[in-house]
């Protein structure tokens, strides 16, 4: 009961003041960690393993392997390449899950449970308690360019110029020449290049901002780099608009809209 009250207070505090853990390592109450361990062992351990190494018994029968938390490397973040994720990033991953993997959305878990999980997951890697890892450089997706045929066409041009097609294919179907050779992530697991024309194959891309963040932060632990230093902010938004249009079937793979295609006939 005491643990529940403390967890509730901690959670309310979290929502009032925003997520901690951006400027310095967080120092959650012991009760929160104990609660997190209890929830983790019940809900997460079958896949991620009790010690967070991603080697739970379920990992042997699924293709996309569960995250190994001990390395402190996370693909989907709002922080710059090589940085740890923020607490909000971890909370979002638990809440939304990932398409085309075995990780479901745990939005039905109580906020207290999810917050306790975030804190407990961070205990698996020493990186989270190392002050040298902080402050985290959080990327704010500002300056968005509205989705328009022009922006989509520019995004297509950038897609070709930056040779995204080498992995993702000219049509975005994940069948580029480099993809044929196969990729492995930092943990030695095979990676499937997603078909960007199939919304069910893309792990996290429900908004243009999600896609912009992927180009800006890169996916740590995977061959997908950050394009922050090679593309301008504006170019990354155009590219994000093009990929969003591709995923959601708004544009044809060559960047043209249906109207443009008709006018050419």
């Amino acid at each position: 009961m005491k643990a529940k009250i403390l967890a509730t207070i901690a959670c309310i505090g979290l929502f009032i003041y925003g997520f901690t853990g951006i400027d310095q390592p967080s120092n959650p109450p012991k009760e929160v960690l104990e609660h997190g361990k209890k929830v983790f062992n019940y809900v997460c351990a079958p896949c991620h393993g009790k010690d967070g190494k991603g080697d739970g018994v379920v990992s042997s029968t699924i293709f996309v392997k569960p995250r190994d938390f001990t390395s402190g490397i996370f693909k989907f973040r709002s922080t710059e390449s090589g940085n740890l994720p923020t607490d909000a990033d971890l909370y979002e991953s638990i809440s939304l899950g990932f398409h085309n993997t075995a990780m479901p959305s745990f939005s039905q878990l109580t906020p207290e449970d999810r917050y306790a999980l975030v804190e407990y997951i961070k205990t698996f890697s020493e990186r989270f308690s190392n002050p040298k890892e902080y402050p985290l450089n959080v990327v704010m997706p500002t300056g968005a360019i509205p989705l328009s045929p022009e922006s989509i066409a520019k995004g297509r041009e950038i897609y070709l110029r930056m040779k995204c097609w080498e992995c993702h294919g000219v049509s975005g179907k994940g069948d580029g020449p480099a993809a044929q050779r196969g990729f492995k992530d930092d943990w030695g697991n095979k990676i499937l290049i997603p078909d960007l024309t199939n919304p069910n194959e893309v792990k996290r891309a429900s908004t243009v901002e999600d896609i912009y963040l992927v180009f800006t932060t890169g996916l740590n632990g995977s061959p997908m780099p950050s394009y922050k230093d090679v593309l301008t902010d504006e170019e990354r938004w155009h590219l994000a608009n093009y990929i969003y249009a591709l995923i959601h079937g708004i544009a044809l793979y060559d960047g043209k809209t249906i109207e443009e295609l008709k006018s050419e006939q």
Partner: protein, 397 residues
């Protein structure tokens, strides 16, 4: 005489081999927008996450849902179509017989979900080709679950018709060949006709308290059920039977080792006979702790039937292995069953391979060999052998 035995043996083998118990529920894959492999090693066998999902009233572990199915934008129905080609060879003495059969497509239809906070349900309808043409449908199980009476699925109650929580549920096995010891039937007869029967493999009517306790080492499962014990047929004596099962998990390098016991105590009162029967068994299961791709399981079971002064005993069991060769693609399975009832000994070996074209579409090839040593009515020893090869396609949607 021999023909009679052939027919009886064929019927026995057909019943235990071709009965479609298999459950796998793509409606949850739709509801949670995730692949079948989130909960299944390969359908219908549940993985550790799937077992916890099931224990939690068909909801994600750690959650208690409250949105009823009629408020959801997903239809709470799913179906599985299955087609089977079978080659059978029977031998008794010098007589041999081979049969090729293309069974007409059958279907299992499921509905399950949340009815309200702490309330969920599950029902399955089996549609099979009927003899002489057409199809026949039967409600196999239908029950309401009052879930999470104690949190973390520590205590749930279910009412209605359901399968007893066996160590290796017949509806979740990869092999189509029935478990001999679970299929073993206790019965009462009237004028030489079976009036009522019970087997662990069949659904029962009643009430069950069950749960999963993740707090006890690496998880303890239990079930205490009161059931009518007549395989969902009309009760003939209103005497509740008791079923008890407990199973403890310990993880070694995150690979579960499970061991448990089960006990069933029943009474069946027919118009001419009364049968006091029981089952007692113990089970153990282990995953290889390195790759976690090999799962070996074992069950030993005894049964005693007392009808008047006559006592009949059965003992037997099975040992098997599942091998998850390529994740989400290829799985293999094998099992050896043995059973002794009086002078009658039955042995069965099955081996099979499953290939997934897609998570919900798969092809399974299975070979079974069975031998039964028994005595004729004249007291002469008889041996019957049967081989069967099945090729099955399953399509779930």
């Amino acid at each position: 005489m021999r023909e009679k035995f052939f027919k009886a043996f064929t019927l026995l083998f057909a019943v235990i081999s071709l009965t479609s118990y298999v459950y796998s529920i793509p409606l949850f894959a739709r509801k949670y927008n995730r692949s079948c492999f989130t909960c299944h090693t390969t359908p219908p066998m549940l993985n550790e996450f799937g077992r916890r999902f099931q224990s939690n009233g068909y909801q994600l572990p750690g959650t208690v849902e409250s949105t009823p199915i009629w408020m959801s934008n997903q239809l709470p129905f799913a179906a599985m179509l299955h087609s089977t080609f079978t080659w059978t060879k029977e031998e008794m003495g010098t007589e041999k017989k081979s049969t090729f059969t293309f069974a007409r497509t059958g279907a299992d239809i499921f509905t399950a979900g949340t009815l309200g906070k702490h309330l969920s349900y599950f029902a399955a309808v089996v549609v099979d080709p009927a003899e002489g043409g057409g199809y026949e449908a039967a409600v196999e199980v239908a029950h309401v679950i009052y879930n999470n009476i104690l949190p973390m699925s520590n205590l749930n109650l279910k009412f209605g018709s359901f399968r007893l929580d066996l160590p290796y549920p017949v509806n979740l096995a990869l092999s189509e060949a029935g478990y001999l010891v679970y299929e073993y039937a206790s019965e009462v007869k009237a004028n030489g006709q079976v009036e009522a029967e019970f087997s662990l493999a069949e659904p029962q009517l009643g009430v069950s308290a069950y749960g999963f306790l993740p707090q006890v080492l690496d998880g303890l499962r239990y079930e205490i059920a009161l059931v009518n014990g007549t395989n969902v047929n009309e009760d003939i004596d209103n005497t509740p039977d008791l079923y008890f099962r407990v199973n403890q998990s310990i993880w070694i390098n995150n690979a579960p080792f499970r061991a448990g016991i089960l006990y069933y105590l029943g009474t069946m009162k027919g118009s001419q006979q009364e049968n006091k029967f029981n089952r007692f068994g113990f089970d153990a299961e282990v995953y290889d702790p390195w790759t976690k791709k090999v799962n070996v399981f074992f069950q030993y079971l005894t049964a005693t039937d007392k009808i008047g002064d006559e006592e009949r005993k059965m003992n037997g069991g099975f040992i098997g292995a599942n091998v998850f060769i390529l994740p989400e693609k290829v799985a293999g399975f094998t099992r050896y069953d043995f059973m002794k009832v009086g002078d009658e000994k039955t042995n069965q070996i099955t081996i099979g391979l499953r290939y997934h074209f897609a998570p919900n579409v798969f092809l399974t090839g299975e070979y079974s060999w069975m031998k039964q040593d028994t005595k004729s009515e004249m007291g002469m020893p008889m041996t019957m052998k049967m081989q069967m090869f099945m090729l099955m396609t399953h399509f779930l949607f």
